[in-house]
């Protein structure tokens, strides 16, 4: 071995590194949909708005961010689906300019008044911007719809009712031939707002469900799958399976009409939005705080009680005035007809009603 030839060897390494760097620059130059650095939008809005929180809102938020950024090319909005709890913590710590949360702040949390980014003593803006029905989906050959009441649903998901031709199911579905097949009830294995709202409905409506509402599945046993996609896959790949998932993902699966009062109600956007209008406002809140107490036991006609309601939370008075125009523009866009239409298309949400819109608009306009 000659020493002279060995001296050149390390150069090859740096050559590889150079190729890698050049490659990354090449990739950088051709991301066609990324904005040019330092671009200014016609609307004059610029800067970065940082939000985060409920992952349930994620699909809709991505759509809103996309449309908003297309209209305001100089502005960047980041929505990080960190989960509601982390989103609220980050909002309190001032790390998020706004947050999406599957529940409003509780009275004792508000009483602490420790929101870093907000001026002390001013109220918090909370808008139920995201209303989405949760469908109970199942897969049985030849059956597309079943009527069930809360007690039966609870029995199925607790594992007390194990066969599809159980008397409790059959008695509510005269005329449907139910197979003698084992029920596989699929729930979420990860923590989620969907599970929290689903268990909240069962807890409020039937004593069969003896566990509290929780984002983590409260009972041992049953089939568990990761995320909405996991549940939908498990239900569609199995036989005799039943699960719950965001209604936009129900696809070709059979769905359950839920008993409300004397009727069985299929999920629909209108029926989901109706329950928000039927529900009373949380007591003792400021006019800009639109927190509601969902009335899951309502027996008003045409109400679908298994909904996920998620909030947009912001300060009504920011310490940092520079961020205010961006917050107002983005939040204003989300609640607008145009924004809600985008949400319907991207995530299948139920658009907010006109009355709620008026209140929300006033709340957003008050932000300073």
């Amino acid at each position: 071995m000659r020493l002279s030839s060995t001296g050149r060897r390390p150069w090859r390494l740096s050559g590889i590194a150079a190729i890698a760097v050049a490659g990354s620059l090449l990739l950088a130059s051709c991301a066609a949909n990324e904005p040019a650095p330092g671009g200014e939008s016609p609307s004059g809005l610029s800067g970065t708005l940082v939000g985060g929180g409920a992952s349930s809102q994620d699909a809709a938020q991505q759509a809103w961010v996309a449309a908003f950024q297309t209209a305001n090319t100089g502005a960047t909005v980041e929505y990080e689906p960190t989960g509601s709890g982390a989103g609220r913590d980050n909002f309190i710590a001032g790390a998020n300019n706004f947050t999406g949360s599957d529940r409003a702040f509780k009275d004792d949390e508000l009483a602490k008044d420790n929101f870093t980014a907000c001026v002390a003593g001013t109220p918090i803006v909370e808008i139920p911007n995201y209303i989405s029905p949760i469908a109970i989906i199942f897969k049985l050959d030849g059956i597309t719809s079943l009527n069930l009441d809360a007690a039966t649903i609870a029995g199925i998901f607790k594992g007390d009712i194990t066969k599809w031709n159980d008397q409790k199911i059959a008695s509510q579905n005269a005329g449907v031939t139910l197979p003698d097949l084992a029920i596989t009830a699929v729930h979420r294995s990860d923590e989620s707002g969907t599970t929290e709202n689903f268990t909240d409905y069962l807890h409020a409506n039937t004593p069969v469900w003896d566990a509290d509402a929780s984002g983590n599945w409260p009972y041992e046993g049953g089939e568990a799958a990761n995320g909405t996609s996991g549940v939908v896959d498990a239900v569609s790949n199995g036989t005799g399976t039943i699960g719950y998932a965001d209604a936009s993902r129900a696809g070709g699966l059979g769905t359950v009409a839920v008993k409300v009062g004397g009727d069985y109600v299929e999920y629909s956007a209108a029926a989901a939005a109706a329950i928000v209008d039927e529900s009373p406002a949380a007591p003792g809140r400021n006019a800009v705080d639109l927190a509601i107490e969902l009335d899951r036991t309502s027996d008003a006609a045409g109400v679908y009680p298994i909904v996920l309601v998620s909030y947009l939370i912001a300060c009504s008075d920011y310490q940092d005035d520079a961020i205010v125009p961006l917050v107002k523009a983005y939040l204003g866009y989300i609640i607008s007809d145009e924004g809600q239409a985008v949400g319907v298309k991207a995530a299948g949400i139920a658009p907010i009603s006109a009355t709620l819109f008026d209140k929300a608009k006033a709340a957003v306009d008050s932000i300073r």
């Binding site: 960190t82 989960g83 509601s84 913590d89 294995s189 990860d190 041992e220 046993g221 049953g222 568990a224």
Partner: protein, 315 residues
């Protein structure tokens, strides 16, 4: 193979350059120890709040004590990995023997590369495949097993309707560790002294007898260390298990039902996205336990190898 102890005997004069170079080599080695200590230290620091906080304030625990939360996860981790290893090791040895002693010489290397391809598949893809291809395909077999062999506790019913059971997860894990174990076993088998093999054949041994008397005894420490490496990988595998396993139950031996114990790694991945406050500390504490388990497994493996090596006549 050259004797590594030799460079020490040839003692060149120590120069400043030597000091710097050996110093930096030593520093790099020590840095590794520091990193490992750092991993342990940071995990411990972040785990402390779990001990000091009331379990009622950690909403994942939901009031139950820490250990009763972790126990099923620890069991699930060990159980799924053990089953995976039980399936993967014999098959891996078979493949390694096939490549080293059975396949035509010219093809052997290419065939080895094909098996290595399995190692190139990211775990997310294994997760997608396991959940959407393997599980539905194998579900009828599970139904059949619970119906006809349900009296064996392992196959106790009712069978899962989707096939996403701990056995499916273990099969996926087995496929994932297969290339690792195979690659190491293959290397060891190829190093069997040719003289031993030829001696066995010359005595009239069949090919299997030659392998049993010459190749396997020589390769035993290698097989064990390969298996332990595979076990370590299986214990820590996260995404594939999270996407395949229906983890909803406590400690059970039943392989084919919907209620399976989760695994530590998959549980962290499932809960981390929505975790906040002390929940994160709780998850890190379970990670610390996983770290401790893999540490123990590795120590046992090294101890076995060290002990075996003394008795193995092959060296």
């Amino acid at each position: 193979m050259p004797d590594t102890a030799a460079p020490a005997r040839a003692k060149p004069r120590l120069r400043p350059g030597d000091r710097v170079f050996s110093g930096s080599a030593l520093a790099a080695g020590t840095l590794i120890l520091a990193i490992l200590a750092g991993v342990a230290a940071f995990l411990i620091i972040e785990s402390v709040p779990v001990v000091t906080t009331d379990p009622k304030d950690i909403n994942i625990l939901d009031g139950q004590p820490f250990w009763s939360y972790v126990a099923p996860l620890v069991f699930g981790t060990l159980w799924s990995s053990a089953i995976a290893l039980l399936m993967a090791v014999p098959v891996s040895i078979g493949i390694a023997l096939f490549i080293s002693h059975y396949a035509p010489r010219r093809l052997a290397q290419g065939l080895g590369y094909i098996i290595d391809l399995l190692a190139a598949v990211p775990s997310v893809v294994f997760g997608l495949w396991g959940g959407n291809v393997l599980a539905p395909a194998i579900q009828p077999l599970y139904s059949w097993l619970t119906e006809h062999l349900g009296w064996i506790p392992l196959f106790a019913g009712p069978a899962s309707g989707t096939g996403r059971t701990i056995l499916t997860a273990s099969i996926v894990l087995a496929v994932m560790v297969l290339p690792i174990i195979t690659a190491l076993c293959r290397e060891v088998f190829l190093q069997t002294p040719v003289l031993h093999e030829e001696a066995a054949l010359a005595l009239g041994a069949t090919r299997w007898e030659m392998i049993r008397t010459a190749v396997l005894p020589f390769g035993r420490p290698g097989i064990i260390s390969a298996s332990m490496l595979g076990l370590g990988r299986a214990l820590g595998e996260t995404m594939a298990v999270a996407m395949v396993l229906s983890s909803s139950g406590g400690i059970t031996l039943a392989l084919l039902t919907s209620s399976n114990p989760g695994t530590i790694a998959a549980n962290i991945a499932l809960r981390f996205a929505e975790a906040f406050g002390t929940n994160i500390n709780l998850l890190i504490a379970t990670g610390l336990i996983l770290f401790a388990i893999t540490l123990v497994v590795n120590m046992i493996a090294r101890w076995i190898i060290g002990r075996r090596r003394e008795f193995s006549g092959a060296n």
